[in-house]
Symmetry: C2
Subunit: 192 residues, 2 copies
DNA sequence: CGCCGAGTTGAACTGAATCAAGAAACGTGG
DNA sequence: CCACGTTTCTTGATTCAGTTCAACTCGGCG
């Protein structure tokens, strides 16, 4: 499973030499957890990068006691406590599993070692970061001046099955709206 | 000026070997333009990355005839037509100079050559992309559930002098609000 | 069965948009 | 250096999308 997963990663992002792949196999681990498990809690220093083999997860933070989803990850997506991982600070985010999931886990330290040693791996990092940057840029555009309905339609065009896998309230906060508003948007769509 | 600028870049992001620096000097150019000059227009394929030596610029797009700022760049920031540059598609963005400016310009092709040849340069790319990703993530959080006043305060804490250099309407659309609302926020602050 | 979390619906409220008008600042040419 | 038009900014009145608060429905499950 580890080898297959690394294969998927290299195919999706950028190829790695056999040598580099072999070394990555040494460092990476496959782990499974149940739905509801918290991979990261607020305040922790998290130095782990997760790649979803099977299942899904979300990153969220608390604002005025409310639970705000910041990021979803499904099969073949990366997820990490972005601020903690890259800035070495306590995480403002929680990361929790929305389903029983299987993950590939690598530590920042091991990634740094691989990045130093292999130009290949550095490139994989650059390319996956670039993809994430482009996704975030799209989200900014969406949050800037689209109506909540447009943002919702956007999201389900990117993740058509998200409603079957993720609670309504989590989707709502990701879109920057309340659960009630999302429920009404959905209702008005079903009427058409 | 070229050498000094490259020096600034390596100090800000990640060091480069002398050899790599020398080759970058071959490819990069310093160019100056007047305020109002459009570096990129909507629909163009833009394969240039710009680094602001002196001056400032903004990226914007048109939505329903309205002008929406997506990105500001000041001294020592990068700016490019992000979608066109990374996805090889016609740019939805314009990029215009807000002041008379001096820029360092590199083409994507030359950057690819350097990335292939120098591990150093690949790393510089990864690190600068990571910084941009983190900035965008902060902006998403800001747009998701902060009030327009909080977003404004955020912005001026990051760029204290932005109001002296950038028209109000451009700042407003960057924050996802109208010019009128921003004017009122400012007025209410001055009253306190 | 009754509880519980997730989703829905309703009514009142509010922050920000819109529309409209005017004031201030800015640049350009006489 | 002033007069002019243009762009930028402010202020007011009205409207509207989305929030808030509260009650209710539904399906699952001990």
């Amino acid at each position: 499973m580890l080898k297959e997963t690394i294969q998927i990663i290299t195919q999706t992002f950028s190829p790695l030499s056999d040598e580099c792949k072999k070394e990555l196999e040494q460092y990476a681990q496959i782990q499974s957890f149940q739905k509801g498990h918290q991979l990261v809690k607020e305040g922790q220093f998290s130095d782990k990068l997760f790649f979803i083999v099977e299942g899904c997860a979300r990153a969220y933070y608390l604002k005025d006691g409310k639970n705000i989803t910041d990021w979803f990850a499904f099969e073949h997506d990366f997820i990490c406590a972005i601020n903690s991982f890259f800035l070495f600070i306590p995480s403002p985010h929680y990361i929790e599993l929305l389903e029983d999931s299987t993950l590939l886990v690598v530590s920042r330290e091991d990634m740094m070692t691989l990045s130093d040693k292999y130009h290949d791996f550095e490139r994989l990092g650059r390319i996956s970061t670039t993809k994430t940057m482009l996704q975030l840029q799209q989200r900014v555009v969406s949050l800037q001046f689209e109506s909540s309905q447009q943002r919702y339609l956007n999201l389900i065009s990117i993740y058509p099955h998200i409603e079957l896998r993720v609670p309504l309230g989590d989707i709502a906060s990701y879109l920057g709206i309340t659960q009630e508003t999302l429920s009404r948007i959905r209702a008005s769509r079903n009427r058409i």
